[in-house]
């Protein structure tokens, strides 16, 4: 119980006055969160457009002159990298982490506001560097989002000259930005919680972001190391990763480096990265489900333990991405086993979400729809992960559309479903207005059904053996001609889903001005972020006095209580303790 720090730094607060200090060089965690979020969504839309172009080529080959094999590979690469790193990581941790941690812990701001501001601007620079690669000679890199050497920096790969350098530099800058932000998140959680907010009273959102940030702090160095070493290989001619090879009939100066070494480094970052994205989504969806089912989250402690266990295990599964690289069978066995073990805490979480819904007072609001949609998509994506986690099943399925379908379901669609749930849920807090519910439901149903229309057939294409990353199938005996019809239908579904996101963007922009006024605590939630004196919260969040916390964040539908929710700031009523203790005894 000694983990509570009282950190009221009210005398250090200076309300920003000018436009620039308030909205540009802001040190307020809420403004930084919005800056992070809007930048991330902006690049995310670019990545969405790129996926549309890819689908056009796959669905209707030989139709579009402006997509050649090189540009196709560039679209694939940039789509993947932007979505995973610059959208999901930045929006979940930089956006929601920044917004939620101080408000949910009862702090006035992050503990290092200046560092927090630097974090955003470094992120912004990394985005600019990344986007700059569209405008350099040769265009962006087309090496695939995994950037495997030796091909990533060799003549013949699109963007092998400028594009790959800009990509690596941008990633290095992103890692620095993330580290600055991450230091803030963990330190704020550990040091700036308000009176009464013990670690085990924190909402699962904060727990999940906290653990994900620790993962990020320990995993991103692997990306930095590989980026630095590959840059040296490219620019100075070292041979960390580059083997001795002949390119276009010419002996290159590289001597016996190890490309597999890069793969190990990359995936030592890459696998935790999956959970850096997934864990915050797990946390936020837990809170959304609990609020909209008017029921405490089922198995809170188990949920926290599962988050911690997943975080720890995520560092010992990385080589399951490398079964088709060279690997000793014993290692394959080891990594298959750890991969299956990590499914246990993950499954516990899924059961607990479902059990939270069970006999709950379910309100099918838009956030709830997205949260339930997430349970579906995540279960489907997770189950195909069990297939691919086994070496013998992975070998034939590797590099087919089955893999594409799997990871899009599990770490593409699922976190995005949670992001939508979270935006619909917390938009009223951020802006003081509700998003339009009708448009929201339309957005949900098109997105939810549309993603199934896209990814369910892809599993089938994978079973047929259709390889991923190919610009065109050509004539291949084992792939029936009907696979092309499937591809065309996937493309149509993808374009519809892509267009449906414009409904969301429209909703977000128009509701800023014309949305229904939200008032205080429109979802009747218990957690601290809804208990601020002003909505949206002002600079410093809490007015003159920090809130005091008396209970956990999940007191919904408590028997005998006046309302169906008791805010965390509500002092314990007389007799409440004994009544609960009695209920426990029964």
């Amino acid at each position: 119980m000694q983990h509570v720090a009282i950190a009221d730094q009210v005398d250090e607060l200076h309300d920003p006055t000018s436009f620039i200090t308030k909205y540009i060089w802001s040190q307020d965690h809420k403004v930084i969160a919005i800056q992070y979020g809007s930048t991330a969504i902006f690049v995310g839309l670019i990545a969405l457009a790129l996926s549309g172009l890819m689908r056009l080529q796959l669905g209707f080959p030989d139709t579009f002159d402006f997509i050649d094999p090189s540009s196709y590979l560039q679209f694939v690469t940039m789509h993947g990298m932007i979505m995973v790193v610059y959208l999901l990581t930045a929006l979940l941790l930089g956006g929601f982490g920044n917004y939620m941690i101080p408000l949910m812990c009862g702090a006035r701001d992050m503990v290092f506001p200046y560092l927090n501001m630097l974090s955003f601007w470094f992120y912004f620079v990394s985005v600019l560097i990344l986007l700059a690669s569209f405008f350099v000679p040769g265009g962006p890199t087309g090496a695939g989002w995994t950037l495997y050497p030796p091909q990533a920096i060799l003549n013949g790969t699109p963007g092998y000259d400028w594009g790959i350098i800009l990509m690596l530099v941008s990633l290095a800058v992103f890692v620095i930005a993330f580290t600055m932000g991450g230091l803030n998140y963990v330190t704020t959680v550990l040091q700036a919680r308000t009176s009464g907010m013990t670690l085990m009273r924190m909402p699962l959102t904060v727990w999940a972001i906290f653990v994900a940030t620790i993962l990020g702090l320990l995993a991103f160095p692997a990306l930095l190391v590989s980026a630095i070493m590959m840059l040296l290989d490219k620019l100075i001619g070292t041979s960390f990763f580059m083997p001795a090879l002949v390119s276009l009939g010419e002996n290159l100066d590289y001597t016996g480096g190890s490309p597999v070494l890069f793969q190990h480094l990359f995936w030592f970052f890459g696998h935790p990265e999956v959970y850096i994205v997934a864990l915050p989504a797990f946390g936020m969806v837990s809170d959304v489900i609990s609020v909209h089912a008017r029921k405490n989250i089922f198995g809170y402690r188990m949920m926290v333990w599962a988050i911690v266990a997943i975080g720890a295990l995520s560092f010992v599964v990385w080589a399951h991405h490398m079964y088709v690289s060279v690997m000793h069978p014993a290692f394959g066995f080891f990594f298959a086993t750890t991969t299956l073990i990590i499914a246990v805490p993950t499954a516990i979480k899924v059961y607990n979400w479902v059990l939270t819904l069970w006999k709950g007072n379910i309100h099918l609001t838009v956030p709830m729809l997205f949260a339930i949609g997430f349970i579906f998509t995540f279960t489907h994506g997770g189950l195909t992960g069990l297939f691919l986690g086994n070496v013998t099943i992975d070998l034939p399925l590797s590099d087919t559309y089955f893999v594409v379908a799997h990871f899009h379901m599990v770490m593409g669609v699922s976190p995005v479903m949670v992001l939508f749930a979270a935006i619909y849920h917390w938009y009223p807090l951020m802006t003081g207005r509700m998003l339009d519910e009708g448009l929201g439901k339309l957005h949900f149903w098109v997105t939810f059904l549309g993603t199934y229309a896209i990814y369910l057939p892809m599993h089938y294409l994978g079973f047929l053996g259709v390889p991923r990353r190919y610009f065109a199938m050509g004539t291949t005996d084992f792939i029936p001609a009907s696979a092309q019809d499937l591809n065309a239908s996937i493309t149509i579904a993808a374009l519809i889903v892509g267009a449906a996101q414009m409904i969301f963007i429209y909703n977000v922009i128009v509701s800023l001005r014309h949305g229904k006024k939200a008032g205080k605590n429109p979802w009747r939630a218990t957690s601290l972020e809804w208990q601020t004196p002003d909505v949206p919260p002002h600079h410093g969040n809490w007015g003159p006095e920090l809130p005091k916390v008396y209970r956990w964040a999940y007191d919904y539908s408590v028997p005998g209580a006046k309302d169906d929710f008791i805010p965390q700031t509500q002092p314990v009523l007389e007799g409440e303790q004994s009544e609960e203790a009695e209920a426990m005894r029964k």
Binding site: T187, S195, L232, T238, R301, K548, W552, V572
Partner: protein, 223 residues
């Protein structure tokens, strides 16, 4: 362990009064942050070293020590640099001790000398680079050379970062004219300095290892 105890709490059972569990703790976020920074930097160098060991098992790798013509068979230059960094660490620790005693003059001397020796270390490392280049040990002639330049370069950059933070600490104390508040930030700087010294000692050991030692280490790691 308190972490396990914390994780076993049942928050739904104990709606106590907030006052009873709000134990004001030492509020020192910078201390936590420095620990996390050391963890991050530690992982960074750990990964570099692991790849070093993995890469060392390929035939083109030639260790930098062992045979007479290899540069670190005589490691006296490295020893000098190490002693310079040890002095930096000692003086910053001296500064911390004097800051606790609130002796301003002594702190100024300690911090200045620490900064001086740190800069001297960086210059000496650059001179080491110059010497290596003069002997024909270029960055890309051998993976061991590449690692030498990469590891020392990144270590130097981290020390440079520490110097910038130290300058910021000194500047803030000077600017606010609040000498009494220097003790804790200086302590954090000292922790980081000792950590960078520790990293350097590990790198020193690695770079001056002969190929048998490296092969044994790599074997232990399973390469």
């Amino acid at each position: 362990m308190s972490l396990f105890k914390t994780l076993q709490e049942k928050p739904w059972e104990t709606p106590e009064a907030a006052g009873s569990i709000a134990i004001a703790q030492d509020f020192d976020p910078a201390k936590i942050a420095v620990r996390f920074i050391m963890a991050v930097v530690g992982v960074l160098f750990f990964l570099f070293i692991i790849t070093f060991l993995a890469r060392s098992q390929y035939p083109d790798f030639e260790a930098l020590a062992g045979q007479p013509w290899q540069p670190f068979s005589d490691a006296s230059r490295l020893w000098i640099n190490t002693f310079i960094l040890v002095f930096a660490s000692l003086f910053i620790q001296f500064g911390v001790r004097k800051a606790k005693e609130q002796r301003q003059d002594a702190v100024v001397i300690g911090v200045s000398l620490a900064a001086f020796f740190s800069v001297l270390f960086l210059v000496a490392q650059l001179d080491l680079w110059r010497g290596m280049l003069a002997m024909g040990f270029y960055v890309n002639t051998n993976p061991a050379n590449s690692y030498f330049y990469a590891l020392t370069g990144i270590h130097g950059l981290h020390l440079l970062g520490g110097l910038i933070v130290l300058a910021n600490v000194v500047f803030r104390v000077w600017y606010d004219d609040k000498f009494s508040s220097i003790s804790r930030p200086l302590q954090h700087c000292a922790t980081y300095w000792h950590f960078m010294l520790g990293i350097w000692v590990v790198l020193f050991a690695l770079l001056t290892s002969e190929s048998e030692t490296i092969n044994t280490l790599a074997g232990l790691c399973g390469f």
